[in-house]
Symmetry: C2
Subunit: 464 residues, 2 copies
C-alpha cells in the first residue's frame, strides 16, 4: 500500500481509459504527421502549381491588333527573375474606355485613370498623339498616401516624355502588395529598354508580366467582320481571388482595331462589365485596384461603328462581350484553391437586380462553396442563401436544380429527387446551380468557384 | 549507340532534371502522407472535439428561476443515445418576447412563434394559464412545405392539451437538418415522460438537448436587486456557425423572474438583440431558424418594472444585455473551426449604421479571417474590407490598430509600426481589431472568429 502510494507520487499521471489512450495516440501521431507534412509541402507551395481548371490548351494565340505594340521587362519591383512591368503603346487616334473598382480605398492609379477617362473633355484630348498603358506587378501602390500620387504622376510624366504623349494619355496600373511605397524609379530605369522592345506581337509577355499569384496567364480573342473587313479584339487579364494573398488585384486590358467613338465605347464597356466582371466572385472580397481598360485604335479597314443599334454594332458588342466573359471566367478558374467552376443562375425573380443579389448570395456563401468542394449536393444551404439574400422570395415557390436534376420544387424536396444522382453530378469540374424564385421574370447568372483547403493554405498557412 | 537506342525504347520515360525529380519525390511523399493523415484523423473528426475557445470553467451554475421548470428527453428525432428534445413550462402570468431570423426562407416554427408574439392582442392572451416552450434538435422542419405547418400545429396542440394551456401559448423551435419532414410523432411519444420530468433545476439538460454541432452547451446568468429583492436571469443557447453543417441553427432561451409587461420586455429585447446577437458572425450565413425567446415569470418578490427610464429598469436592461452578450460570444467561441475570438470595433464613422456595416465587412472577409488564422497582421486586407463595405470612408483618414498597436494612420502605414510586435500580438486567443474612419461619431463592435482548415473539414470533407 505504502509502496503503491510512493509509486503514485513519482508518477502522478491519472490513469487513462483505453479509448482515451487510443485518442491520445492518434492525436500525437496526427500532430507529428501534420508537422512533417507541413515541412514537406512548404517547398511545394512555393512552386507554381497550375489551377486544375486552367484552359487545357494553354494561352491562346492572340491576333496582332493594328496600332498596338507591347513590351515587358524585369524591373525588380518585388519579384526576382521574372518580368513584372509591361508597356502598351497605342497609335494616334486611339480611344480608351474603362471601368474601375468601387472600393472606397482604391489606389492612386485607379483614381488617376478614372479622372483621365471620366472627364468628358479629357477623354479624347490629346488622342491625336496616341496613348500608353504602363502596368507593374508586385506592388499595388495602394494605401500609400501622398507618395502614391507622386509615383503615379512621375511614371505618367516619364512615359509621356519618352513617347511624346500628353501625361493625361498615359494610364498606369499597379498590382501587388498593399501599403508599401512603390519603388517607381526601378520602373523608370526600365523604360528605355521597354520602349526599345515594343512590338506588335508582344502581348503574351505582357500577360505574364502583370501576373501576381495567378497560376496561368489569361488571354482571349475574337474576330468579326464589319462591312466585309476584319475587326480584331485581343485581351489579357490577371486575377486569382478578388484579392490574392495581399495582392490587389484584378486587371484587364482589351485592345481592338475597331473604329468607334469614346463615348460609344465607354457606354458599351460599362454595360458589358455589369454582365461579365461584375458577375464573378471568388471570395466576396473587393480589390482596391480593379481596373478594366478597353482601347480602340481605329486602324482596321472596317467602317466606323456609329449607330449602336445597328447590326454591326451589335456584332461588335457580342464579340467584345465574348472576350470579356472569357477573361472573367478565366479569373474564376484561377480562383485561389479552386477545383470547381460553378455557374449560378437565378430565374423567376421579381426583377434582374433581385436575381443578381440572390445569385451572388449563393455564390458567396462559404457553406455552399464548401459543400461544392466536398461534392455534396447540400441544397439546404442554397435555401438558406436564398433566404438571407434580401431578394424577394417565397419559400413555397422556390425550385432548385443541379444541372438538369430537379432537387426541390414548391418549397420542398422534389419527390422524384434521388440524392445519388446529384452526388454523381457534383463530381464534375464544371457545375450549374439553378434556382427559380417563381415570382417574376428577373434573371441573372454569376460564376464562382469552390472553397477548399488550398484557399486556407494560400491565405493563412504560408505567410509571415 | 544502337544499344542505347534500344534501352530508350524499352523505357521511354523522358529524362527528368534533378529538381523535377526532387519535386516528384516530394509530391509522392506528401500525397502518401496526406492519405495517411486523412485516414488517421477521420476517427478524430467524429469525436466531439471541444472548441479551444470554450469557457475554461465549463457550463456555469445557473440559478433556478421561480415559475420555470425544465425537462429533456431522448425522442430519437435523428440522433441516437442523447437527449434531443426539451420542454420548459412557464407559470401563469408569464410574458414572452422574441426576436427571429429575417431570412425569407424561415421555418414554419419561426413563422408560428412570430405570429403568436407579434399580434398585440395575442401576446398576452391566455397568459393567465401559463405557457410552454418545446424545442427539438436533429431536424429543423425547414423547407418542408405544408407538412412543416402540420408538425408545428400538432406539437403545439399536444403540449397545450397535456399542460392545459392555449395552443397560442405553446412556442416550438426545431433545429437540425433542412428539407426533411419532422417525425413529430416521436416527440409526441416523449411528452408524458417530459412532463413527468419537469423540474426547476433542469436547465443544464435543456441546454444539452438543443445542441446540434455545438461542441459545448452554452449558459449564462445574472442576478440583480430591484427594491432590495433579488431578480434572476438565466439563459441557454445553441449555435456553431451561422448554419452548422446542414443544421439550422442559432436558438436562445432566456428566463427571468422579473415582473415586466410584455410590450416593455419586447422593446427591450428587440433593442438588445441589435447590439448582441445581431453583432456576431461566424461565416456570414444566416439561418432559417434563428430564434430568441425571453420569458419573464413575474414570480420574484421585486416590484414590477414599469418606467423603462427608471434606474431599476436600466439595471435590469444591463443585466439582460450581459446575459445576451455572454451567450452571443459563446456562439462565436464555438464557431466552426474557430481558434481565435475577434472583436472588431469601428469608430469615427459617419453614423452607427455605417460603423456596423464596416465592422461586419471586416468580420466577414474570408481574407481577414484566414490572415487571423495564420496569425498574420495583414492589415492591407482590412483596408480592402473597409473599402468594399459601402460605408462612407476616406482612405486618407483611415487608422487601424491591432489591440493597442497602431498599424496605420492617415491613410498609410504608421511610421513607428513594427510588424514583429503585431505578429506577437496575433498569437493570442482573443484579439481586438480597431478601425477609426476619422469622419464622425458613429461606432459599433462586432465579434467573429477566424477561418481555418477545420471549418473546411467540418463543412466539406466529412459529409455525403
Amino acid at each position: 500500500m505504502a509502496k503503491n502510494q510512493k509509486k503514485q507520487k513519482r508518477n502522478p499521471t491519472p490513469k487513462l481509459s483505453k479509448s482515451e489512450k487510443r485518442l491520445a495516440k492518434w492525436k500525437a501521431r496526427a500532430k507529428s504527421l501534420a508537422d512533417e507534412l507541413r515541412v514537406l509541402t512548404a517547398p511545394l507551395a512555393k512552386k507554381v502549381i497550375v489551377s486544375p481548371l486552367a484552359p487545357k490548351d494553354g494561352f491562346p494565340l492572340l491576333p496582332e491588333i493594328a496600332g498596338v505594340e507591347f513590351a515587358a521587362a524585369q524591373a525588380g519591383v518585388r519579384y526576382k527573375g521574372r518580368r513584372d512591368v509591361m508597356l502598351a503603346r497605342l497609335a494616334p487616334g486611339s480611344v480608351i474606355a474603362g471601368t474601375f473598382t468601387r472600393s472606397a480605398t482604391r489606389s492612386a492609379s485607379v483614381l488617376d485613370c478614372q479622372a483621365k477617362i471620366g472627364s468628358k473633355a479629357g477623354a479624347d484630348r490629346g488622342a491625336d498623339r496616341g496613348a500608353a498603358i504602363l502596368v507593374n506587378s508586385g506592388n499595388a501602390n495602394a494605401f500609400t498616401g501622398r507618395r502614391g500620387w507622386i509615383s503615379v504622376e512621375t511614371l505618367a510624366q516619364s512615359v509621356a516624355q519618352k513617347l511624346d504623349l500628353l501625361p493625361s494619355r498615359v494610364f498606369t496600373s499597379s498590382t501587388g502588395v498593399i501599403g508599401e511605397p512603390l519603388p517607381h524609379e526601378r520602373i523608370i530605369d526600365t523604360l528605355d529598354s521597354l520602349i526599345d522592345g515594343l512590338a506588335p506581337d508582344g502581348i503574351t509577355g505582357a500577360a505574364q508580366a502583370i501576373m501576381t499569384t495567378d497560376t496561368f496567364p489569361k488571354g482571349a480573342m475574337a474576330e468579326l467582320e464589319i462591312g466585309d473587313q476584319p475587326v480584331r479584339i485581343a485581351g489579357i487579364a490577371k486575377g486569382s481571388g478578388m484579392i490574392a494573398p495581399d495582392m490587389a488585384t484584378m486587371l484587364v486590358y482589351i485592345f481592338t482595331d475597331a473604329t468607334i467613338g469614346q463615348r460609344q465605347l465607354q457606354s458599351l464597356v460599362s454595360r458589358l462589365t455589369d454582365s461579365s466582371f461584375n458577375c464573378i466572385t471568388v471570395d466576396s472580397d473587393t480589390s482596391t485596384s480593379d481596373t478594366l481598360l478597353v482601347a480602340a485604335t481605329g486602324q482596321s479597314a472596317a467602317p466606323a461603328i456609329d449607330d449602336m443599334r445597328s447590326a454591326d454594332a451589335r456584332g461588335f458588342a457580342a464579340a467584345l462581350e465574348g472576350v470579356m466573359l472569357d477573361l472573367a471566367h478565366q479569373v474564376v478558374r484561377d480562383g485561389e484553391g479552386a477545383t470547381k467552376f460553378v455557374g449560378v443562375t437565378v430565374t423567376g425573380a421579381a426583377n434582374n437586380a433581385d436575381a443578381k443579389r440572390c445569385a451572388l448570395s449563393i455564390a458567396n456563401s462559404p457553406l455552399v462553396k464548401t459543400a461544392i468542394a466536398g461534392e455534396d449536393p447540400n441544397w439546404g444551404r442554397i435555401v438558406a442563401a436564398v433566404g438571407k439574400s434580401g431578394a424577394a422570395a417565397d419559400r413555397d415557390r422556390l425550385a432548385i436544380r443541379f444541372g438538369q436534376i430537379s432537387v426541390a420544387a414548391e418549397g420542398m424536396a422534389d419527390p422524384d429527387y434521388v440524392e445519388a444522382d446529384a452526388a454523381a453530378y457534383m463530381k464534375q469540374d464544371d457545375l450549374e446551380i439553378g434556382v427559380d424564385l417563381g415570382l417574376g421574370r428577373g434573371k441573372a447568372t454569376v460564376w464562382t468557384c469552390d472553397l477548399t483547403h488550398r484557399y486556407i493554405d494560400i491565405n493563412a498557412d504560408y505567410r509571415s
